[in-house]
Amino acid sequence: MPSAVTAYYDPILEVHLRLPVTFAITYCFYLAPQVPEEARRLFDAAAANAGISTQGITDLAGHRINAIAWFLSREWGLDELEAAIRSALEANYEPTWDRARGEFTWGLGLAETYPRGQYNGFLAAAEVVSASAWARVSEAPLPKQPGLVEGVDFPTVALAEAHWEKDRLRLRLHPQSDEVLGQPTRFRVTGLDDPDRWRVEGDARLASRAGDLVVETSVRDHRLTLRPAE
């Protein structure tokens, strides 16, 4: 197992500075989609050196390293390790809701006015990532979709689900807060071959306007399925 990692090389003085392998967890984040086997070997050494294991985390002050370790444990499907890291972060990194705004951040126990952006960035990525998702992001652009949802009144309403299953568009609306429940809302589906010939399953009305399919519904947590009319 590697015990040290190159931090930097100075080609003028020909100096090579090495750091304990823990530092390599940051490298692993970028290596994972490119050379996953080497990244995993480096990660195993770095995590062990950092005290990150299925027993938990020994250094909670290493915010960036711990967040990246959580991220990679999810990317690689290391369920037992992921559970241990998640449990430690859940207890110590101050997950915080602003219910009025529908916003979620991690305070990290830092007692600061603004959530620490760099650490929150990695923690949020870890919250989102699933097995091999980071590799997929890096492999290829998102494929062309039969239609795209546009004009959603975000952040009042978000889409927790928006994907095509064959010729059906599956949507799930996600309200910002209780304050906005029941408000009328609308959005468009653009790029459809024939926007006049669609029907909806769920509480919504459809109309065809200016070449787009317009969906009129209300703000609440509910699902819609759009499918071609028969």
Binding site: G117, V128, A160, A162, Q176
Partner: protein
């Protein structure tokens, strides 16, 4: 392998936070100042610059787009705000203010010892001090064209690349101006930056440096 098709409440809650943060007006030109919610204090001396918040905030939204591929609008809107800021003077405020060797290098705090070769302690710039102007490169005001600043142009390419993976347009391949400080305004595009960095790598088998004199593995 099952690919998730729904975002968690927390993911959407963080997206709402980032969307508001990214759309809160501020000014990254030299005469302005980034809003204090942009993180310029984590992990000094190397990452305590506001541009790192721009890049680190981009990973989650690019992953969200994988889960809701039929809805990309908010992600592209956020990424555009991040990229816009990364064209401003404050995105390179280390490179544009740290000229020559660090005048404080004889009085660094003890915890910098980990970052500096022992034999050079007291006479060597800590990582994070970009040392614009030192020989053999001299002063180079364009952080993209510069021999150094790999971490600037490299992470900017990550940001631009993530946007290009989910957007249906090619906005940042239209030429845009960077730094925008009088005579120090530099025109680039996504492809031009990538081509320039590829050329730099071809010429330097040992790699490109980030801070002047320091070649990092990434």
């Amino acid at each position: 392998m099952t690919i998730p098709t729904e975002l968690s409440d927390r993911s959407l809650g963080w997206l709402r936070y980032l969307y508001r943060k990214a759309h809160t007006p501020d000014d990254w030109n030299r005469a302005g100042r980034p809003h204090p919610h942009w993180d310029d204090r984590s992990d000094p001396p190397m990452a305590s610059w506001p541009r790192f918040d721009l890049t680190d905030s981009s990973y989650a939204v690019s992953l969200m787009a994988q889960t809701t591929p039929a809805w990309r609008e908010p992600y592209v809107a956020v990424l555009d705000q991040l990229i816009e800021r990364h064209t401003g003077w404050w995105s390179a405020n280390d490179w544009l203010t740290q000229f020559g060797h660090d005048p404080d290098r004889a009085s660094y705090p003890d915890f910098y010892r980990l970052l500096i070769p022992a034999e050079l302690w007291g006479n060597y710039d800590v990582p994070g001090w970009t040392a614009n102007g030192v020989e053999p490169w001299g002063i180079q005001m364009d952080p993209i064209a510069a021999d150094g600043m790999l971490f600037y142009k490299g992470f900017f390419l990550v940001l631009l690349g993530l946007r290009s993976m989910i957007a249906t347009d090619d906005r940042w391949n239209q030429p845009f101006d960077m730094i925008r400080d009088g005579e120090h305004s530099f025109r680039w595009s996504h492809t031009a930056i990538a081509s320039h960095l590829a050329d730099q790598w071809k010429k330097r088998p040992e790699g490109c440096h980030c801070e002047n004199t320091k070649v990092w593995p990434l």
